[in-house]
Amino acid sequence: MTKKLIVIGAGMASGRALEHLFDSDPEAYDVTLFNAEPRGNYNRIMLSPVLSGEKTYDEIVTHDDAWYEDNGVTCRFGEKITRIDREAKTVTAENGDVLSYDKLLFGTGSNPFMIPLPGHDLNGVIAYRDLEDTELMMSMGPDNKVVVIGGGLLGLEAAAGMAARGVDVTVVHIMGHLMERQLDEAAGYLLRKALMDKSITVKCSANSKEILGENGRVKALLLDDGTELPCDLLVMAVGIRPNVKLAQDAGLAVGKGIHVDDQMITSDEDVLAVGECVEHNGAIFGLVAPLYDQAKVAAKTLLGEEAAFVQKSLSTKLKVTGCDLFSAGDFADGEGREDIVFRDPARGVYKRLVLEENRVVGAVFYGDTSDSNWFFGLIQSGEDVSDMRDTLIFGPAYQGGATLDPMAAVAALPDDAEICGCNGVSKGDIVAAITGGATDLAAVRAVTKASGSCGTCTGLVEQVLGVTLGDDFVIPAAASMCGCTDMSHEDVRRMIKSQELKSMAAVWQELGWKTSCGCHVCRPALNFYLLADWPVEYKDDPQSRFINERKHANIQKDGTYSVVPRMWGGMTTPNELRAIADAAEKYNVPTVHVTGGQRIDLLGVRGEDLPDIWRDLNAAGMVSGHAYAKGLRTVKTCVGKDHCRFGTQDSTGLGIKIEKKLWGSWTPHKVKLAVSGCPRNCAEATCKDIGVVCVDSGYQVGVAGAAGMDVKETERLADVATEEEALDYITAFMQLYRENAKYLDRPYKWVAKVGLDWVKEQVFDETTRNGLIERFELSQSIYQKDPWAEEAQKSEEKYQPLADFKLEAAE
């Protein structure tokens, strides 16, 4: 006689269990299927493509009416079960029908978790769970705003789906990066960037406080920092809770979910459970792979066959078009765990493998997931990978039998493989350049432009050099910023920009600093990067500055200071000179010296006298000359056509204009300028960081000169006809240098790294140039101020001793 099976819930797990059951023995059970939703089994994980419009509901139906009919399933859709009597082995339906069973299968799934924020019961606050939710989201259009709480898998799919319909979507996520359970920080960051490219606003580390409503309908989400995000619909996608109510009422053993054993049997041997409603060995399940495994086991158990459910590593793929993402296994940092990381920022590729005892235990891929199945296999098999470790990250194509050369992967690349994405340089081009005589990085860069733009393929180019030249070439090791981090200056800078790290603490935390608060090497660099990249948001930290910049004077070897007032363009007046002479006498300045930058240096001033001497010089109209700063120092000039019989332009006038525009700006290293009135070049403009040589037809703007440890002539950035253009190009160059150079690289070192061609491309493009100038001016609106006046007023006490027992003793 055919036994009776009652299934509660037509979801993916119970549906799969029925498929297995009917495949093995269609006659074994007489099946009745209850479902609270008024429809049969559809592929719930394909709701996202339905939402984005890539699929229709009909396309994601797993079991249609015909399937149920063919398999003799009695469907009771839209009906709930109100009661289970396990003694009598009956269930009671909503309409009062009592049905008996031999076996009962729970597939009640899960309920979305709704955060009990004030206002969570307003109209327009929904979860993302079923077709009804999806249809509500689909009703939103370009005129609507939607807030999604939750930056996990589901929330992001909801956000991307609505964004694809033109909806203005904001994702609010409580954690520091998206999908923190599946992704590490770096991949989370790439994902965030990709979502922002889809015009989705992403707010991480954001705490929701209250849902605001109007006439019973949602109006906005209020964050605890006071931000109000207006919305017409609010989607909560913060997690699920197994739906255990019915099982609990029936007296089954229930924890987080319905307890099941390896055979998917609950505490009652005639009752089974599968899917998101179960708890197995303390774990609950939200992804589809284990649910299908459970379904298979449940079907076998129902047929009296042996089977056991085993929990396996899980993998995740995000179903958002354009965000190619894969994560599997465990990728938390831990003792004894090692990382293999591959990044190609230009392509937006990030791959990370986590190894433990020579086995792959976790993997996170972003941007290129083509080999993810192979890696997932390695995680599941627990195979020893020590033999292929060197080339593991490149995937199965690069694994061979023999011991592998670390450079084999590069050697194995075909000639047409692109090495430098910015400049479209292939491996073949680089090899040709090398065999043509370019035997180091700089030479290859000069011939092919490879690695000359963003510089991120530098390592690859070096490997191609290594492969081509063999032992003749030694790859330089990438230097980390300092002992507090393994990251290079370039990496740290990139992360500050891209992860929007706006405070020193954020950098230490997010980038995993090994020390509590950095050191004297990284702190000044970080302080500069932060204030250059986030002039408005970041607050300058004097305690992270070298003493000269903290006290606005140059410390001398005996602990005294030097004071240099600014003389715009090297011009001064009798009044200024008189004030300088007075100050020198008043404060017993032992040495007065004329500097190479056309300024007067008062050496040997005591620290405590600084605020007073500044006040005196301020009173005569002078401001700090920033002779101590990693910033704009001096603009040196010759007297130009006002006096000189050879002068072609007003070189002093232009010098003053440049200095008035640039003064007060902080830069990666000091910046010195000069303007010469004719090619005789009396102001020595051709060995400055930026130098202008005036000619009859206009102005030759040169950059990247040096006359210090190295001596180097400037390279021509531009020939321009007017002073305004000269100012624009110089300002844009300054900002480009501020935004991109490594701390303590003078412009000539930085230009050698990125290439003058790239610099020119940026400043010659009108949009880019104007953007640079705008950002420079924004920064100047905050930082262009005379520190002397400010310090003498506000922080005079910090120049004085905390206590003076010498005086007390004398009294």
Partner: protein, 112 residues
């Protein structure tokens, strides 16, 4: 029992900063760390006499502003390859006030 002398409020020194206390026998540098601990050291680097109070404070260490020698604020010992020790003196914080030991200050005043 040692007596302690109040030399000022903790907030008069910036976090990760220092101020000096002048005595007849030279300056004492009083440091405040990021974790609000206070340390008193001779304000003089054993290398070339640099004023340690002007250095960058990181963790429980300070870097001399002249040639980047790094010293432990706790022991006064030079870190890394450099050799040398800066004298350290008793200091503590109580109710937001910085206290130095009386007998120590006395000894620094007696010299003249």
């Amino acid at each position: 029992m040692s007596d302690w002398i109040d030399i000022g409020a903790l907030e008069e020194i910036a976090p990760r900063g220092a101020r000096v206390v002048k005595t007849a026998m030279g300056c004492v540098a009083v440091f405040r760390t990021g974790a609000d601990e206070v340390f008193a050291l001779e304000n003089r680097c054993p290398h070339k006499g640099g004023p340690l109070s002007e250095g960058i404070v990181h963790g429980n260490k300070v870097t001399c502003p002249l040639h980047n020698w790094v010293f432990s604020l706790e022991t006064g010992a030079a870190q890394g390859a450099d050799e040398g020790t800066v004298p350290t003196y008793p200091a503590r914080v109580e109710n937001g006030r910085i206290l130095l030991e009386h007998s120590f200050l006395q000894s620094r005043m007696a010299a003249e």
